[in-house]
Symmetry: C2
Subunit: 682 residues, 2 copies
């Protein structure tokens, strides 16, 4: 059996610490399994009782007549190591630990975590948790969870498998699905991910024939490599992934010694990571629950703002959807002349605005159906959204079959929103597989997220590991030049130099791998125009720097051609510990930092992606002919982005700040750079 | 009787065009009135029938035994003028017109609109609509509407009166309220506002004893003066107003000939207008429905980011709320040491993070209650939010009474969010008056909107009207100086001038009220250092400008002291046709435009408000000591904002671009300005 089968289709499960007291959390898994008719063998393990909830109990795992496929350990924190040790000794392939107190809670917790890791090392036992509230397969009745929310009379099924860092949220998602008539294939709470991570679990079940897609509730990006492998596998199988991630509001962590981290922010990196993996990141919790149904028909990587038709019987309700789409960069466009004519040929007046408002006529099912069909056929549209009014509340039997018929037949993405509270209409539409939404916010959110996905980034070779070294500026330029990033002409001289081979004007800078902020130490002189000034500048640096930082000896100077341009940008490459290699383009200067005006992608990127990144940095409009201004060489900038993004496995981080953007046709030039490599692999 | 009484408490209503055919829209009002037990007299008017739906019908308004308080005219567009004419002739105090086709639809529509206006002129008849779907008072059974959504078996009552530009949305709000156990005092669809505007209607009912607050659904800000008067009246009576406004995504309209409009955008102006009126602007439709209950306890004008405690039994659910608050500028803060101690004294472990996570213990009502009470008592908090988990779904009888008891007793604002779908808990909490939310998005939205309200701006005298005139730059400076805005030293000379009384270096500029873009015409020379250069500059302008714009004669030049500073801003005053006098501060330069980095307020503003505006312009961080940079004179900037905001009634618009911000203590200086006034009133 595979890990995926142990997770979702175990033949036998043991519940270690199953309680006979119905009021206790530890009584829940057995109760839920029986209520939902789990077909496999269940072994309650309880050393103090002969029976549990009326079933035979076993004194220990060892006492069982077979090695179970999965042991759910409900013991308190202190009892966990012994229980896991027993699993390892018996060769139980999968153990889930409910208790917390490992790793997340101070030194003691970390010691416990280390103990568990030691117990597992080299064994065939895989561990889910600790702090996992369990796993559920709604098809088989496997309700191996202590989450009270699974006390539902019935668990509806569906194709989407829910994986969540948070244990309580699988319950919230379950109940919100039930309210909307949406069932799921299963649920897993991944807890502390001591062994099995969310990505690995999802990858393990990706081939389950009854899992058609995934919905993730993420606290943060952890074990990004595993998520990447899973996303790749899911993309190859055409099983879409949708994700809600906490932390949009977090203060951006100062992630690295460079500026990159500060400007990108943890959430910014996570956002780029998810989109580059082809994962639709929603920002509303109902977008996660309701949006999964939309994903299968939306292909990742449209590469431009999607164009959507909105057809309605209720102007106000439709306007809310238009607004929610608009603030998320989705264009709602009026039908083309040809489409207007095609509508007219079916006696439908398209009106004049962006919204096709059928008014009262649209409550007639045939009219709404004809309108949707015609709009779906319009080559100007990527998608059609129908917005229904009060008829959806009072007469779902009229509108629903019409919308469902045309929506199901549609080759293009199609979704519905109902302006009033209309739970029956939503349930009926959902049952036919139509993506439909209770709020305009979730509707706009899910549509925007579906189209914002990019094709899943290829897996890259892992970075080298080893002692790291910061290169000096000249070494950094050598690395950049090798990659194909243009750098300013420069020469290395000693402080007693009287001339340099670089044409004036030049900048003279302290050259040292140990100093990041040379300006603050008096280590930079700009606008040096002749040999005499060069000598003076070199003398000045040799004199000032040791005064500013005693002990620092000025041995070498960099003489660098002064470069003028239309603007400057910050271009960087770094290996994020969670998300992997990323390339960032940001507007130059202090305002870029204040506005967080930047674009991020997983590295490497192709030219098309580089151009998309340029269009995402708002300040770069100023270099793209904005209000008649001269154009910067954005083609050369795209080349530089592509080049830097292909940094070799030995490069840990490379930040060019600034990269000067010259006039169209004149290229770009790096005039300052910090590069860190893994030693000995350059 | 007052207008408010005619609107909400008519003794008699006539339904002109009432249909006997239940399938017809025009049969609805009578049906609804009877179903909901309206106690007043109802007169169906139908010239072709003796009875309508089993009741006596009257052939015309004239035939009625009395003049009704309110006539609801259901006639098609063509029949409206005659019906309204009859109302006027009879002195019917209030007529509502259902049909559209007035004003909004081309020339024909505008002609019909003019006809209606002419009919109404000088009469005592007030008109609701056209294109109004009617008005409802849930207390009295007045269901005078053709909106199908009012076919509810029961209309729950509440204190909040809903006014909407959109007719269909009153139905959507009604049904969404019913789903949540939220009733409303009444509903009005204001339609085209030919006579009665939304603001006037709300002001008219503000003293209705059963109306305790307002919820507005706005398509745009129309008739802003009336909304202002209403908001003022509501604020004086302590009746809070909450509003959802469409158009957050609209392309910013180029509203005026200056930059102000482009940077502010229609929605930006509306947003500032609503907040300055003390109106809580929400951005989710459920925030509107659910948020009204929160408003009474939140005082407008906190003037800083609110500090909120989040207490929960479910970490994931609480984290979603924290996120939704955080992205909207509401701080969730950990309890102070004193509060932690107070919690500990009641055996509650506050944990370590921002969230007070009671885990399983919190499902015990006494624990949750004690925790909420203790947090409410913490002086560090402006508000407490409780987040409940699955127990809210399965055992609302436990948690709800505990939360309700402490929430009702709270002097501070209090709200609840439930992570799972838990309609019973929400309904029960709602019934006790506790603000509670179904989604984390509506929760964060409503809380942020409630605290973002500012005290209602005082009503200002209306602007003067008359022929407008653009001042030349020197005249503009004179106006600014009178207001107390510092301007650069300058003199007016003729093109043959050989010197000026201004110390060098100076700028020399074409002086003409007719030319807005003098630089493009060659009308500006900067960095003029002596008399010879001045002469050359003047000659150059006199030569170049007429070439660039034939027919333009250069008669006068402005010689102006060159001013250096740390940065520059755009400061402007304008009278928005809808919102009234506004003052805007924006970062200077092209990036401000790209980033829409600005702050807007209704004028005039006080110093505190001016300082708040400065803190809202993100780029101005660079002048506030960001990363050790020198500080700009933000005090002087605040003074200039206050001064400009007090522009007299004759000033239509004044835009200073740029206003130079010098070093701390050195002041600010206007170096370019465009001022428009109403002629003859300067």
């Amino acid at each position: 059996m595979t890990l995926g089968e142990h997770l979702l289709r175990p033949r036998s499960v043991a519940i270690v610490g199953a309680s006979d007291d119905l009021a206790k959390t530890t009584a829940r898994p057995l109760r839920f399994l029986r209520h939902n008719g789990f077909g496999g063998t269940v072994y309650p393990v309880n050393p103090r009782r002969d029976t549990v909830l009326g079933e035979q109990a076993w004194p220990s795992l060892e006492a069982l007549p077979e090695v179970p496929d999965h042991a759910f350990i409900l013991a308190p924190t202190e009892g966990v190591p012994a229980a896991v040790r027993q699993c390892v000794a018996l060769g139980v392939p999968l153990a889930t630990v409910l208790a917390g107190g490992f790793g997340e809670e101070g030194e003691e917790g970390r010691a416990r975590e280390a103990e568990l890791q030691q117990i597992l090392a080299g064994s065939r036992t895989r561990l889910l948790g600790p702090n996992s509230i369990g796993i559920v397969n709604t098809r088989t009745g496997l309700t191996l969870t202590a989450n009270a929310a699974f006390a539902e009379p019935e668990l509806p099924s569906g194709g989407v498998f829910v994986a969540s860092h948070s244990g309580s949220m699988i319950g919230a998602i379950l109940s919100r699905g039930i309210a909307r008539g949406i069932g799921f294939a299963g649920f897993v709470s991944t807890g502390a991910e001591l062994d099995l991570s969310l990505g690995e679990i999802c990858e393990a079940v990706v081939d389950d024939p009854e899992v058609t897609g995934f919905a993730l509730f993420l606290e943060t990006i952890r074990h990004g490599g595993a998520i990447h492998r899973f996303a790749r596998a899911a993309a190859e199988r055409g099983k879409p992934v949708i994700a809600y991630k906490l932390g949009r509001s977090e203060q951006a962590a100062e992630l690295a010694q460079s500026h990159t981290g500060a400007i990108a922010g943890e959430d910014g990196i996570a956002d780029a990571f998810l989109k580059d993996l082809g994962i639709a990141r929603v920002e509303t919790i109902e977008g996660l629950v309701e949006g999964a149904a939309l994903m299968p028909k939306v292909k990742p990587g449209l590469g431009r703002a999607p164009r959507v038709a909105v057809v309605t019987t209720t102007g106000g309700g439709a306007a809310m959807v238009v607004d929610q789409l608009g603030i998320r960069g989705v264009d709602v466009v009026a039908p083309s002349e040809a489409t207007v004519a095609a509508l007219a040929a079916r006696d439908i007046n398209a009106g004049h605005g962006r919204i096709v408002d059928l008014t009262l006529a649209g409550t007639r099912p045939a009219v709404m159906k004809a309108a949707i069909e015609t709009l779906l056929a319009g080559p100007e549209y990527d998608m059609v959204v129908a917005v229904a009014g009060s008829s959806a509340r009072f007469q779902p039997e009229l509108l629903v079959p019409a919308i469902a018929e045309v929506g199901q037949a549609a080759a293009k993405p199609f979704a519905a929103f109902v302006a009033p509270d209309a739970p029956d209409a939503l349930r009926q539409l959902t049952a036919t597989g139509i993506a439909c939404f209770r709020t305009p916010e979730a509707c706009g959110d899910a549509i925007a997220a579906a189209f914002a996905r990019r094709p899943c980034h290829a897996l890259t070779k892992s970075a080298l590991t080893g002692p790291e070294r910061q290169l000096d500026e000249a070494e950094g330029y050598a690395e950049l030049s090798r990659l194909g990033v243009p750098v300013a002409p420069h020469a290395v001289v000693t402080p007693d130099a009287q001339s340099a081979s670089i044409p004036y004007p030049v900048a003279v800078k302290l050259l040292s791998a140990d100093v990041l902020h040379k300006t603050e130490l008096g280590g930079v002189v700009l606008g040096v125009n002749n040999d005499a000034e060069l000598e003076a500048a070199a003398d000045g640096i040799a004199r000032d720097v040791p005064q500013a930082q005693p002990g620092l000896v000025v041995e070498r100077l960099l003489v660098q051609s002064m470069t003028k341009g239309l603007g400057e940008v910050l271009l960087s490459f770094r290996r994020d510990p969670d998300a992997g290699p990323m390339v960032m383009l940001a507007a130059g200067g202090i305002l870029a930092e204040i506005h967080k005006d930047r674009s991020l992608r997983m590295a490497p990127v192709d030219r098309e992606t580089a151009l998309a990144m340029i269009s995402e940095v708002r300040a770069l409009k100023a270099l793209a002919g904005y209000r008649g201004r001269p154009r910067g060489d954005l083609d050369a900038l795209a080349d530089a982005i592509v080049a830097l993004s292909q940094a070799g496995a030995h490069i840990v981080e490379a930040e060019i700040n600034p990269l000067i953007v010259r006039k169209e046709g004149e290229g770009v030039t790096a005039v300052d750079a910090v590069v860190r490599i893994v030693e000995g692999n350059a």
